[in-house]
């Protein structure tokens, strides 16, 4: 199962109800949290993806199991682009020539729908408590969707004594290489 912060049961509901309910439910989430929408209306996939696009939420993907569609949406606010402040960065091209650990700090659901092969998943919100899983002597390349969360993660790691940390820019949205998936289905 893909991890989500909240589930919405919209099974058996016909259009427009899955979207109407999603819109209402997502208001109850914090920014960055993931909502799982369970629906049986086949049209809900295209509509949810398009709706998320128009209102600025991130449509992560859909898996189908036993005729139920599980849609994953990450709540985003009106993205005011925050300045990226962590200085050590690498591009995707540079990354391919380096050894070290790729640390993916997106939510587990985002990771499940596609990540770089060999990347380690620690969502941004869990990084502080799971830092002991990381090796200070290893080079760590932090990546997220657009470079924003990875910037914060890199700063957090640096503050805690990690010196070989790099923020990977621009992030998974622009990654054209192979993707590894933990789910059947996808975007």
């Amino acid at each position: 199962m893909v991890k989500a912060d909240k589930q919405l049961d919209a099974k058996g509901l016909a259009c427009p109800m899955p979207i109407v309910k999603t819109k209402k439910t997502i208001n109850e989430l914090e920014e960055g949290q993931v909502l799982e929408v369970q629906a049986t209306d086949k049209g809900s996939k295209a509509d949810l993806a398009a709706w998320a696009g128009t209102v600025g939420h991130q449509y992560i993907g859909t898996v189908e199991e036993d005729d139920v569609l599980y849609h994953y949406i990450r709540k985003c606010s009106d993205d005011t682009i925050e300045e990226k402040t962590y200085e050590k960065t690498v591009s995707h091209d540079d990354l391919e020539e380096r050894d070290g650990l790729v640390l993916d700090v997106r939510e587990e659901a985002e990771f499940a729908f596609g990540h770089m092969e060999g990347a380690k998943s620690i969502p941004m919100g869990e990084l502080e408590s799971r830092m002991d899983e990381l090796d200070k002597n290893q080079e760590i390349f932090v990546i997220c969707r657009t470079g924003k969360r990875s910037d914060m993660a890199a700063q957090l790691l640096a503050k805690n004594g990690f010196t070989k940390v790099y923020n990977v820019l621009p992030g998974m949205t622009e990654w054209n290489g192979n993707l590894t998936k933990n789910v059947n289905g996808g975007m």
Binding site: C15, I19, V20, K23, K42, A46, D47, A50, T54
Partner: protein
Amino acid sequence: MTVNKWTAAQVARKVIENKELFILDVRNKNDFDDWKIEGHQFEYLNIPYFELLDGVEEILPKLPTDKEVLVVCAKEGSSVMVAEMLSDAGLDAAYLEGGMKSWSMYLEPIKVADLADGGELYQFVRLGKGCLSYMVISENEAAIIDAVRFTDVFINFAKEKGVEIKHVFDTHLHADHISGGRHIAAETGATYYLPPKDAGEVVYEYTALTDGLTVQIGSAKIEVNALYSPGHTIGSTSFVIDNKFLLTGDILFIDSIGRPDLAGLADDWVGDLRETLYTRYRKLAEDLIVLPAHFMIIDELNEDGTVAKPLGDLLKENHGLNIEDEQEFRSTVTDNLPPQPNAHVQIRQVNMGKITPNNDEQTEMEIGPNRCAVR
């Protein structure tokens, strides 16, 4: 104000009678761009329903206040919601019952001509999908050609006319829509014909439809003559009816020609297509009225809603019949083809009898335009 419910039949009358209609289509932009209700004098606004959840105020300036607005969605639910919102805002609003799903399924029977000795020829126009089926009636008998899957429509029509369905033909193994042919035959005891060259993989019994086959409808002399005309498929067969009408199947349309690629054999079949269009059809009388199995665009409809034109006119006007250079013809019909019809691989399997999806699944497969042609 109250919200009115329109049926697909009412919308069809607007199309056929060239009336004006304002349609607010609340489906996704992609779905709208791909396929919508076409009318000569229709106006459109496409705003997805999920952009209207907070209200319709923003789009009110774009909507007419002096005429009814028909709200259309995929199945119905969203259009009811939006029509009610518009009505609350003081507009005259209606929704399409069953949405695009019912539009895709609606058939309008239109008489093409009276035949000799009281016979009649009907064209069943499936406006939402661009499919055309035919019924030839003479005395107390009928023949059906290229029936779509709504078998009741044909069977009930024959009952109303007091005729018995004796022969059911498919000009070829269809890839864009599910045939009702063999089911009508099974239900009525009629003979079902299919070209054997298209039937290599079919898993049911059929009678071979071969070049030169002639059947007589009623005791009056209305003949249906088969003419082998490959190219869209290797078995594609045309019919000459009553020496006046040429049913071309998916080989020749009013404003386009058949595509040879839907069974994955474009390169093999392009030569056959060329020969049919540039040799076989040119031996026929130019005053034959061409009746195709599809139309692609609304401009192909005549003023009475039928899709029909003399062969002589098409030989002059149809681009696909006027490509002198064989190499250019080959590249026209094999390169840069439009996207293939929705679910064409599965639809062919249904028509071979290999899979039997339920009604909803069949509807889903047939959603969207037919795309059997190249221009």
